[in-house]
């Protein structure tokens, strides 16, 4: 029988993911692996994971990796890529990591136009630490540190990282995607592949923001979480290309 599908070589063959049901981290890991394989750079790739659930990937991937200190993934990637420009450096960060504690590192790596690929997983909540409010938590959405829901008077509003980075001149490519249905999933893969291709071509800073769900900390079933994502998250975080300098060339 002809083999028409094979698991990406990025993921260790004997590993079963420990991510919660309905979590999209494992899906994104698969997409990154497929993109790297198709581009032929899997074996010269280094993964820099952020703190939190993102870091669980280190147990599943076969590629070289480190866990950066909370929020510092873009700084770590800066040091690595400058030192070894022939290798591929991908950061993999959540919303608390990239947009809160690591905001400075993210902004400045983007502003320097570092030739790295940033995968930003935005589920609007802190996962591993247990459902605390994130910079991307929706207004009214409950969190363990905002028990009455996010109140703009007290907590401000969700931060839109693609749009914030779009204020800078240097970033090359910024796109927001999701994995909530097959169509969006395929687009996410195309975006990841493009962001890695940009690094191979030396184009500079590329970030793919992926809006995902966290059924566990949202307090929903996986299916309800998908609906919530579609009806609420994507209203706040509209999908699409925010910046693509290749269109200007």
């Amino acid at each position: 029988m002809e083999k028409i599908y094979e698991r990406t070589k990025l993921i260790q063959a004997d590993k079963v993911s420990g991510f919660c049901p309905g979590c999209m981290h494992s899906t994104i890991g698969k997409l990154i692996g497929e993109a790297l394989e198709e581009l032929g750079v899997l074996e010269k790739t280094f993964l820099i994971t952020g703190i939190g659930c993102c870091g669980l990937h280190i147990d599943y991937v076969r590629c070289d990796n480190t866990t950066a200190a909370h929020g510092r993934a873009c700084a770590v990637a800066t040091g690595m890529k400058r030192s070894r420009p022939d290798s591929i450096y991908i950061t993999y960060q959540g919303d608390g990591d990239l947009a809160s504690i690591g905001l400075a590192e993210t902004m400045h790596a983007a502003n320097r136009g570092e030739n790295i690929t940033v995968i930003f997983v935005n589920n609007g909540i802190y996962g591993m630490t247990g459902g605390q409010m994130a910079p991307t938590t929706l207004v009214g959405m409950k969190a363990t540190t905002a028990p009455k829901g996010r109140d703009p008077k007290e907590h401000g509003y969700p931060m839109h990282m693609c749009e914030i980075l779009n204020q800078l001149t240097a970033p090359y490519y910024l796109e927001r995607c999701s994995c909530n249905n097959p169509k969006n999933l395929m687009q996410t893969k195309r975006a990841i592949k493009k962001a890695i291709q940009n690094q191979i071509d030396g184009k500079g800073f590329s970030m793919v923001e992926i809006v995902t769900s966290c059924p566990t900390n949202w307090g929903m079933s996986a299916m309800d979480a998908l609906d919530f994502l579609e009806d609420n998250m994507l209203k706040e975080f509209p999908l699409g290309v925010v910046r693509d300098r290749s269109k200007e060339e």
Binding site: K9, V41, L42, E43, K44, T45, F46, I48, I58, D59, R62, C63, D64, N65, T66, T67, A68, A69, R72, A75, V76, A77, T78, G79, M80, K81, R82, S83, R84, S87, I88, A104, E105, M107, H108, R112
Partner: protein, 355 residues
């Protein structure tokens, strides 16, 4: 090799480049600004990289990245900036990533003063970040020593896969002295160093060899305990470096490191000329600390050990006490706040003890 007059900070930077430094990230803070300024000019000349980080924290994490990728990497700062770097230093120690950093220390605590001080002793030697790791910490008394220590710091960092600290101060950092610079490591030597790190360096590996896995932590508590045991064994293997002077007949032994030690040395010379029997213990590594040097003191003749340092409260004193082990009294001669201790103050303190 001809001697050249160089400022401490610039001499440290040049020694680092000659030792193979090819990545530096740092953030401005007085009195160490000449290190990043010098390297911003110098590193591109040798194919290296300089990045002015957006913060101390970002800078040290860039160095974590470069070190993880197998490059000889360094950052520098002063006192309050070093506190910010402690996050990345601890991560390097945890993930066993080699790196060198320099503290041109100033008056503390807090923002303190920008003038020279030795207030960071305990931070430098006992707890440079969370988690109980240790480092080799070199404390130069002269610009030449700063050069020599920096040059070999990179070798120790690679050998141990651990951070190494050059604990300098505002005097050694800002003064100029004649130095002889060590030879520039050749491209071949540097290529060999990179090759030696290839097995663990974060550069991407073919999947038929083990992956590089530079993790500053793991889920498995038993494995992590084992790593802590391995680290502890490494720390135990280090040999301290020390200079001792006239301990055999000493009626007073001065214990001092770094800038205080060179001033104390001049005081001892003056005291000896007047017939006072004064000896000296000068740790060159303050971690590991040369406790054994205190066993060489003749406690039958020695009336006291005088701890001389630019710190109030006394901090080096903690280690002096551990070395002396109650075998004689310990006195102190201290200045702080950015004031450089004077030779005559040390002489007066010594005479007070010796009568």
């Amino acid at each position: 090799m001809a001697r050249v007059l160089m400022k401490g900070t610039e001499a440290i930077a040049e020694a680092a480049v000659r030792s193979g430094l090819r990545f530096f990230a740092g953030y401005p803070i007085t009195p160490q600004n000449e290190i990043p300024e010098y390297l911003a000019r110098r590193l591109p000349e040798v194919g290296g990289h300089f990045v002015q980080g957006e913060s101390e924290i970002a800078s040290v994490n860039m160095v974590y990245g470069a070190g993880c990728a197998g490059e000889r990497a360094m950052t520098s700062s002063a006192s309050t900036g070093i506190s910010l770097k402690s996050e990345g230093i601890s991560y390097c120690a945890a993930a066993r990533i080699p790196m060198v950093y320099v503290n041109v220390s100033r008056g503390g605590p807090g923002v303190g003063t920008i003038q020279p001080s030795q207030m960071d002793y305990l931070q430098a030697t006992k707890a440079s970040g969370n988690g109980g790791f240790r480092m080799r910490v070199f404390s130069p008394s002269t610009v030449q020593e700063a050069v020599d220590m920096t040059y070999k710091a990179f070798d120790y960092a690679d050998q141990d896969r651990n951070p190494v600290l050059i604990l300098s101060d505002g005097v050694v950092g800002t003064m100029m002295e004649p130095v002889e610079l060590p030879p520039m490591r050749t491209d071949e030597e540097l290529a060999a160093i990179r090759e030696s790190k290839k097995a663990w360096a974060g550069i991407g590996h073919p999947f038929d060899v083990p992956r590089s896995w530079n993790q500053p932590g793991i889920w498995d508590t038993l494995k992590w305990e084992q790593q802590n045991k391995d680290n502890a064994a490494l720390y135990e293997s280090w040999v301290p470096e020390v200079e001792t002077l006239d301990l055999e007949d000493a009626e007073l032994v001065i214990a001092a490191y770094g800038i205080s030690a060179r001033i104390a040395k001049a005081a001892i010379k003056a005291l000896r000329a007047e017939g006072y029997k004064v000896g000296m213990i000068r740790p060159k590594t303050v971690s590991p600390y040369p406790y054994a040097a205190y066993d060489e003191i003749n406690y039958d003749t020695c009336k006291a050990v005088l701890d001389v340092e630019m710190a109030i409260p006394a901090l080096h004193l903690w280690d002096v006490e551990k070395g002396v082990k109650d075998r004689c009294p310990i006195e102190t001669c201290l200045r702080s706040g950015g004031i450089v201790i004077q030779k005559r103050e040390i002489i007066a303190a010594a005479k007070k003890i010796l009568g």
